[in-house]
C-alpha cells in the first residue's frame, strides 16, 4: 500500500468513530495546552529578562569585582581573612559583612589590561536625606548614571553627557516633595544632605554618633523617571546623577573609612566589545591579575537559570498530562484493533503485508496525536492571544513586554513531538493488528 493510501485510510477509520477519537485526542490536548502556555510564558519571561539586561547593562561592559561573593560566588560558610582594604556593607538582615573592594590602585591595574577601553566606578552614595524648602525630608540613594541606559521619562530630558549636579528623579518623589506636577519639577532644585562619617580615633558619645556633620548640596532636576518596570529589584527609587557628582557625594560620606575610594564593583568597557572573543579575552586577563569579571551574558545566564527551573516544573506537569494521555491512546487503539478484526483479516487475505497493517494503525495513532496537539495548542494560542493584553496589564510588566510570547516553530515542534509520542503509544496495538491471524479474524460461525 502506498503511504498516502495508508494515511488516508487511517484518517477515515478515525472519522468513523468520531466521539472516541475526539475524547482520546482531548487527553493529549490538555497536555498540549499546558505545554504551549508554558513555552509561551517562558518565552515571555526570557524576553522580559533580556529587556531588563538591555536597559540596565551595556553588553560591551564587564562587571569587575575584587570579591567574588559580590557576584554570588565564593563560599560564604568559610571565614574571610581580614584585609585593610575591606569595607563593610550591611546585608538585608542587618549583619555586617565585609567585602573586599577595588581601590584606585586596583583600578589603575585594570585600566592597564590590554583591550580595556575605559573604567567606570559603580558608585552608590547613601544620602542622609532629600528635601526641598518647606517640605519633609526623605531618605534616598544616589547612583552614578550609566551613560548607555535609556530609562523611560515622563518629563524633561537626559542631557548628553550628564554632567555636574544634575539629577534624574523618580516619579514617586514628585508628590512627596510637593511639586504640583511633573512638568513643574523639571529645572527646579532639590536639596541633598550627605552625612560625614564619625571622626576616627576621637571618643564617641551616643549623641555624637547621631548628630554628625552633614554636607548639603543643591541638585537641579533634569528629568523625571517613569516608574521603571524593567529595573533591577530594589533600585526603583534610586536617584541618578553624573559620575563626578556621585563621586563627590560618595567621597564625603566615606572619607576616612575603609570604604573611601574603594568600590565593590566597577564597569570595564571592552574595546570592540561586541565581539564576544574580546570580552572573553579581557575577562580572562582580569582574572589573571586577581579580580573577578562577569559579562552581561553571565548575568543573563544567572537570571534565566531561575526561569529555567520554574519552566522545568511546569513542563513536568505538562508531560504528566501527556503521559496520562498515552494510556488513553493505547486503550483506544486496542479497541480500534478489536473492532476492526474482520477488516484486518480481509486486508491480510487480500495480500496486505504485516508491516503495512501495523503502519496503518500507527498512522491512526499519529492522527490522534496531531488532532490533540492541534486542538490543545490552538486553544492555548487563541486563549493566550485573547487574554494576553489583560494579563500583561494585570501583572504590570510595562510597555513592550508580554507575559506570553507564542513562537510558531516551537508550537510546530511540540505538536511533532506529540505525534511521535502517539505513534509510540500505538506501537503495541499496531503490533497486535499486524500479528492477527487472518483465518481466525475471518471465521464467521
Amino acid at each position: 500500500m502506498f503511504l498516502s493510501d495508508q494515511i488516508r485510510r487511517a484518517g477515515r477509520s478515525l472519522r468513523s468513530a468520531k466521539a472516541r477519537t475526539l475524547l482520546t485526542a482531548m487527553a493529549i490536548a490538555v497536555g498540549a495546552f499546558a505545554l504551549t502556555l508554558t513555552l509561551a510564558a517562558s518565552n515571555g519571561a526570557q524576553s522580559f529578562v533580556n529587556n531588563i539586561i538591555a536597559k540596565n547593562f551595556d553588553p560591551t561592559e564587564l562587571i569587575v569585582v575584587a570579591d567574588q561573593t559580590v557576584l554570588g560566588g565564593g563560599d560564604a560558610s568559610k571565614p574571610t581573612e581580614y584585609s585593610g582594604n575591606f569595607g563593610s556593607s550591611v546585608s538585608n538582615s542587618g549583619a555586617v559583612t565585609q567585602v573586599k573592594r577595588l581601590t584606585d590602585d586596583d583600578i589603575k591595574k585594570v585600566k592597564a589590561v590590554p583591550g580595556v577601553e575605559s573604567v567606570r566606578e559603580d558608585i552608590t552614595a547613601n544620602l542622609q536625606y532629600i528635601t526641598r524648602p518647606d517640605q519633609k525630608k526623605f531618605v534616598g540613594t544616589m547612583q552614578s548614571f550609566p551613560p548607555f541606559q535609556q530609562p523611560d521619562l515622563i518629563a524633561g530630558s537626559i542631557p548628553k553627557p550628564l554632567i555636574g549636579k544634575q539629577v534624574l528623579l523618580p516619579e514617586a518623589y514628585i508628590a512627596a516633595l510637593g511639586f504640583p506636577s511633573v512638568e513643574a519639577a523639571v529645572g527646579k532644585t532639590i536639596t541633598v544632605g550627605v552625612q560625614k562619617p564619625p571622626a576616627t580615633g576621637a571618643p564617641q558619645t551616643f549623641s555624637q554618633a547621631i548628630v554628625q556633620d552633614s554636607v548639603v548640596q543643591e541638585f537641579t532636576i533634569a528629568a523625571i523617571l517613569k516608574k521603571p518596570t524593567t529595573s533591577q529589584p530594589g533600585t526603583e527609587l534610586y536617584l541618578f546623577t553624573s559620575q563626578e557628582a556621585a563621586h563627590e557625594l560618595n567621597d564625603i560620606s566615606t572619607l576616612g573609612t575603609a570604604n573611601y575610594r574603594a568600590y565593590t564593583d566597577i564597569f570595564v568597557k571592552v574595546a570592540d566589545g561586541n565581539n564576544a572573543q574580546n570580552i572573553t579575552a579581557v575577562q580572562n586577563k582580569i582574572k589573571d591579575i586577581g579580580f573577578y569579571a562577569q559579562s552581561v551574558k553571565d548575568t543573563q545566564a544567572f537570571l534565566t537559570q531561575i526561569i529555567s527551573v520554574l519552566q522545568g516544573i511546569v513542563i513536568a506537569f505538562g508531560l504528566i498530562a501527556v503521559l496520562a494521555s498515552i494510556f488513553g491512546i493505547v486503550n483506544t487503539m486496542y479497541i480500534s484493533v478489536l473492532q476492526r478484526t474482520r477488516e484486518i483479516g480481509l486486508m491480510k487475505a487480500l495480500g496486505m503485508r504485516k508491516r503495512d497493517i501495523g503502519r496503518l494503525f500507527r498512522f491512526e495513532a499519529a492522527w490522534i496525536g496531531l488532532l490533540g496537539g492541534a486542538i490543545g495548542a490552538g486553544l492555548a494560542f487563541g486563549l493566550g492571544t485573547a487574554l494576553n493584553p489583560w494579563i500583561t496589564a494585570k501583572v504590570n510588566l510595562g510597555a513592550g513586554n508580554s507575559l506570553l510570547i507564542f513562537q510558531p516553530l516551537q508550537i510546530g515542534i511540540l505538536i511533532l513531538i506529540l505525534v511521535i509520542i502517539s505513534i509510540l503509544a500505538g506501537w503495541l496495538p499496531s503490533r497486535k493488528a499486524a500479528k492477527l491471524d487472518p483465518i481466525e479474524a475471518l471465521r464467521t460461525e
Binding site: 493510501d5 495480500g351 496486505m352
Partner: protein, 239 residues
C-alpha cells in the same frame, strides 16, 4: 493449475492432536469452476485457506502455476495474493461505513495500482455487478444482495487469476442467491479466472464443472473433468 500435493494439516500436539486435512491430493485446472463440498468440520474451509496461502500445511505442498507456495517468503505470498487471487465471503465483509468506491478500491491500494487507473477500474468492476450508480453510496445503505455484489466487484477489480468464494450465498435468500450465482458464473467466464467455491449446497455444486467432496478432512469423491487421474486412484487406494 492449482495442485495440492499430499497436504496434511494438523493442530495441537500429543493427545489433543487434531487432523484437519489428511493427505489431500487434488489438481484444479486453470479456468475451471470447482466446488469443494462438505459439511461443516469436513475441512473444506481449511483446504481453501491452504490453497490460497493464508494457512500453511503441516505436510505437503501447494503448487500454483508451477510455483510452490512453500518456497515463497511470506511477503511473496502476500504479493501473490494481492495480484492473482481474490476472495468472496459468506458474510460479505464489506466496510459498512465506507463508500462502495472505497470498498472496491481496497485491493487496488494493497496491490499498489497507480492512482490514475483506479477510478476507471473501480467503475468497470462496479458496472460488471450493476452497481455503478452506487459508487459513492455508503455500503451500509445497501441490501444483502447488493453487498455481496459489491464484494464480487471487489473480488474482480484486480483481474485475479483465482477467485475463492466461501459459501457466497450462505447469507442470502434463495432468489438473491440465485442472482449472485448467475453473476459469479458469468463473470468467471468473461474474465477467464479459476473459480473455487466452498459450499455445502448441492445445487450450487452441481453447476460447477468439478466437484470435490470432503468428509472428516479427506476427499471422498471427485466428480467432473479432472485431468488428474492420480487423485482418484489415490482416493481408491486410501479407501
Amino acid at each position: 493449475m492449482i495442485e495440492l500435493k499430499d497436504i496434511t494439516k494438523t493442530y495441537g500436539k500429543g493427545d489433543s492432536l487434531f487432523t484437519a486435512l489428511y493427505k489431500i491430493d487434488v489438481a484444479i485446472p486453470t479456468t475451471t469452476t470447482a466446488a469443494i463440498i462438505g459439511k461443516s468440520g469436513s475441512g473444506k474451509s481449511t483446504m481453501m485457506h491452504i490453497m490460497s496461502g493464508l494457512d500453511r500445511p503441516s505436510e505437503g505442498d501447494v503448487i500454483i502455476n508451477d510455483k510452490a507456495l512453500s518456497e515463497l517468503k511470506p511477503r511473496q505470498i502476500d504479493k501473490f495474493r494481492s495480484t492473482e487471487m481474490s476472495f468472496i465471503f459468506q458474510a460479505f465483509f464489506v466496510e459498512a461505513n465506507q463508500t462502495c468506491y472505497q470498498n472496491v478500491m481496497l485491493p487496488l491500494e494493497i496491490a499498489k495500482v497507480g492512482r490514475r487507473n483506479r477510478r476507471k477500474r473501480v467503475l468497470e468492476a462496479l458496472s460488471a455487478v450493476d452497481l455503478e450508480e452506487k459508487i459513492d453510496a455508503q455500503a451500509s445503505k445497501l441490501s444483502g444482495g447488493q453487498k455481496q455484489r459489491l464484494a464480487i466487484a471487489r473480488a474482480i477489480v484486480n483481474k485475479p487469476k483465482i477467485i475463492f468464494a466461501d459459501e457466497p450465498t450462505g447469507n442470502l435468500d434463495s432468489t438473491t442467491g440465485e442472482l449472485i450465482i448467475k453473476l459469479l458464473f458469468n463473470l468467471h467466464k468473461s474474465i477467464g479466472a479459476t473459480l473455487v467455491i466452498v459450499t455445502h449446497d448441492e445445487e450450487l455444486a452441481a453447476r460447477c464443472s468439478m466437484r470435490i467432496y470432503m468428509k472428516d478432512g479427506e476427499i471422498t469423491r471427485i466428480e467432473g473433468k479432472s485431468k488428474q487421474p492420480t487423485a482418484t486412484s489415490k482416493k481408491t487406494r486410501r479407501v
